[in-house]
Amino acid sequence: MPTACDWLIPRPEGLYCVPGDFHIDPRRAVARAVITHAHSDHARPGHGAVLATRETLALMAARLGQGAVAAGSQALAYDEALRVGAVDLSLAPAGHVLGSAQVVLVHRGERAVISGDYKRSADPTCPAFAPMACDLFVTEATFALPVFHHPAPGGEIARLLDSLRLFPERAHLLGAYALGKCQRMIALLRQAGYDRPIYLHGAALAMCAVYRALGVDLGDLRALPAGRAVAAGELVIAPPAALADRWSRRLADPLPAMASGWMALRQHARARGVELALVVSDHADWDGLLRSIAETGARAVRITHGPPEALMHVLAAQGLDAAPLEGGGFAARREEEE
């Protein structure tokens, strides 16, 4: 049996589509890049031209500067078809963060889907993951071990609100990745009826401004005022790295919390020094990965951005051709990159 979609090849700089002459989420600057979403491990600066959703282009420009999105760049809406060279290309919602997309490629009747990062649980800030039938599915694998079963986010939000009630004399400092997790947490809190102002670290505030401009309502958000002793009883959101940073000294007796899929593991929570570990992830958990792979109907699966062994073990038993996407961008994911 010939390899499925042999026109899609991993190269040192990233996954390359031969008949379309472009890369997908390349790690180095290339002439033409299709970008699944604006996180730093997928969207690098310096490409000659970028194709992505309008939202991803806006977030990239905010993160990397206007210059990062070159003049030849193009926005493509979900499900809009585009011919690139000898390939039919479209983007489908990945449910990861605002603008995140799966890349659907069709060439000589063969279909390949590159998932980018994705999740299956509810997120009020972006459209849900849409399973796309294909022959080859390139899947992320951040949480590709059967110990990861993300709980329903509503329950984790309830735990945060509960803690705010239990420790009203302390500011709650929530670590959440500035792009995506931060806005999702805010939206989930608003859904749960939390209507107080939420204070933000500068990096998170900048991303929220883009979300707002793109039509996502996040309620009353404020910059942390200068000077000390802020906000007993208030909620402050900052990137995870700022939790143990000198920045946090501005807060009154802060209670460090963190929203991340990694918080399911005690050692990660303890190593981060958080007192409240919220298991809220923007990546599919073990069941989510297996379900998504099955729904694509793919006979070949390539695994990237996470440990491939457990998925390979299970998929091989189902008779699928499952392997790591060699050189196609696998790197141990840093926790901040969620």
Binding site: P146, V147, F148, L166, A244, L265, Q267, A269, G273
Partner: protein, 529 residues
């Protein structure tokens, strides 16, 4: 079980005593009997431990999970109970975990052979966080940092009663402490000991601010050595015998030879010590490290008891028979203690001698020279003081001998926890060893305290600006910063690379003025042992 599992998780992550105390208080207020009482017993280690071991957990895993997937997962997670809790395949809608009370009762009534079946039923019925709490409880690996003292403080907050009162009532009840909670909530009478061995909160001394606090006339004061052991309370009577630590922890099982010698009906206050083998009860005690080895064993074997025999130096008597002597003046209690000792002569015990002090000069000399093995300093007790629980001001003073100090060089730093999470506040320091080109720094200890907030800010800035390597959370720093480290004593240790262990080291002064080359040598520290 659900609330208990959540409490365990919060306690695991809560950094400080105050946060843990608030969590416990809320748990007691929101959890019904008998669960909260069982939780209390489990947290302070009064529940049967280790019903299941690692082998049983592995067997459970093998019954439900693909072995390859389990191995990959365990490798990643690193903790067996946690891996099993997370990987256990959930049943649809399985959300009816057992109550904590049910778990405790059924564990007590279930044989080892039937345990895996029972565990499977419970794991099937529980969501992941509850599964973890369940497995930690059953394997005896709670380790969430709740002492009897902390639990008592939380019970005091919960009930609005004084900690001393809580302590007495607590020890008159047994798990799940129904009567204790009924009384704490004002629904029942205060639990009565009725002859059972009851812990009485001890009287503690304050640090002497200076000799002038004693006044000109020393005749109103009694002096004793401050023995370097563990303060204990011996309680014996028709209802049983107990050895309590100063915070009310039950040490009875760890010191059977003392328990055996308690053939009396009284409550005594004393210092637990370890003596050289074969030495009489009033001999000079062995260094504190020897006692620490005994404290590390919940049930010591005969060999250890022979090598490190325990003894008690008696300070005071609180009850004789049923008579409460605590309202009496120290001098009167001392006379009762001496009389009690002369008639009973309990084995393994000796009176802590009173030291005659006539004038301030003699007292200062005594305090300065109190350096013999097993002596930490002087105790000064007002002759007229009744035995008052807690730390009443001006009644008892402790005059610790001057601390030893060394000038050491900062070598490594690590971030602190909780409020100090944003500061590098745990420091490893070292001393010089060798000569010429072989001269290098050897780490000799770690210090987390002693410095002021302003000094901590300086140390933190230094670490951030002068880190030369990182190992996970640890930073290695340039070897240029000298600190003065005070400590209570130094002992030989085979477990430390330097061959010496410091007791209670703290950074008392920053010596930016001193070049690192002029810091002390390891040899000079070894001379202080």
């Amino acid at each position: 079980m659900r609330a208990f599992a959540e409490l365990l998780e919060h306690l695991t992550l809560a950094p400080g005593r105050d946060a843990k105390r608030a969590l416990l208080t809320r748990y007691f207020a929101t959890t019904p009997d008998p669960d909260r009482g069982h939780a209390l017993a489990a947290l302070i280690g009064e529940t049967r431990r280790g019903a299941a071991g690692p082998a049983m957990l592995r067997a459970l895993a093998a019954s439900r999970v693909d072995p390859v997937l389990f191995a990959l997962s365990y490798d990643f997670v690193g903790d067996l109970a946690e891996t099993l809790a997370l990987i256990w395949p959930a049943r649809d809608g399985a959300d009816a975990p057992p109550r904590l009370g049910e778990v405790v009762d059924r564990l007590a009534a279930t044989s080892r052979a039937a345990l895996p079946g029972l565990l499977t039923t419970w794991l099937d019925a529980s969501p992941a966080p509850v599964r973890l709490g369940l497995l930690k409880l059953i394997t005896g690996g709670l380790r969430v940092g709740v002492s009897a003292g902390l639990a008592r403080a939380a019970l005091a907050d919960f009930s609005g009663r004084a900690e001393e009162e809580i302590a007495e009532a607590w020890h008159a009840t047994a798990p799940p402490y129904g009567a204790l909670f009924a009384w704490a909530e004002g629904r029942g009478p205060r639990p009565d000991a009725a002859g059972a061995p009851v812990f009485r909160p001890p009287m503690l001394a304050q640090a002497l601010p200076g000799p002038e606090a004693l006044g000109e006339d020393l005749t109103a004061w009694r002096a004793e050595w401050k023995w370097d052991g563990v303060r204990v309370q011996l309680v014996a009577g028709p209802g049983g015998r107990r050895i309590f630590s100063r915070s009310g922890e039950d040490l009875s099982a760890a010191f059977p030879e003392i328990l055996e010698a308690m053939e009396f009906h009284a409550t005594l206050d004393g210092e637990l010590l370890v003596l050289p083998p074969g030495a009489p009860a009033d001999a000079a005690p062995s260094p504190f490290a020897a006692l620490q080895r005994r404290l590390g064993r919940r049930q010591p074997g005969a060999k250890l008891r022979e090598a490190l025999p325990a003894a008690v130096r008696l300070y005071d008597i609180l009850f004789e028979g049923a008579q409460d002597l605590r309202p009496l003046a120290f001098d009167l209690r001392r006379a009762r203690l001496e009389n009690f000792f002369a008639t009973r002569h309990p084995a393994r015990m000796a009176l802590s001698a009173l030291i005659a002090v006539t004038d301030h000069a003699a007292l200062a000399r005594l305090a300065a020279n109190a350096r013999e093995s097993g002596i930490e300093g002087l105790m000064l007790k007002r002759a007229a003081s009744p035995y008052l629980p807690g730390r009443p001001r001006g009644e008892w003073w402790k005059w610790k001998r001057a601390a030893l100090t060394i000038d050491a060089v900062l070598m490594y730093a690590q971030r602190g926890h909780g409020k100090r999470g944003s500061y590098f506040s745990d420091f490893t320091f070292g001393l010089w060893q060798g000569e010429g080109s072989d001269r290098r720094l050897v780490p000799v200890g770690k210090a987390y305290s002693g410095f002021t907030d302003a000094e901590l800010a300086i140390l933190d800035r230094f670490v951030r600006a002068h880190a030369i390597a990182r190992f996970g959370p640890v930073r290695e720093v340039e070897k240029t910063f000298v600190v003065e480290v005070a400590f209570d004593s130094a002992q030989r240790s085979t477990r430390h690379r330097s061959g010496v262990a410091l007791r209670f080291p703290r950074i008392i002064r920053l010596r930016r003025d001193k070049p690192a080359e002029e810091a002390d040598t390891l040899a000079s520290l070894l001379a202080m042992i």
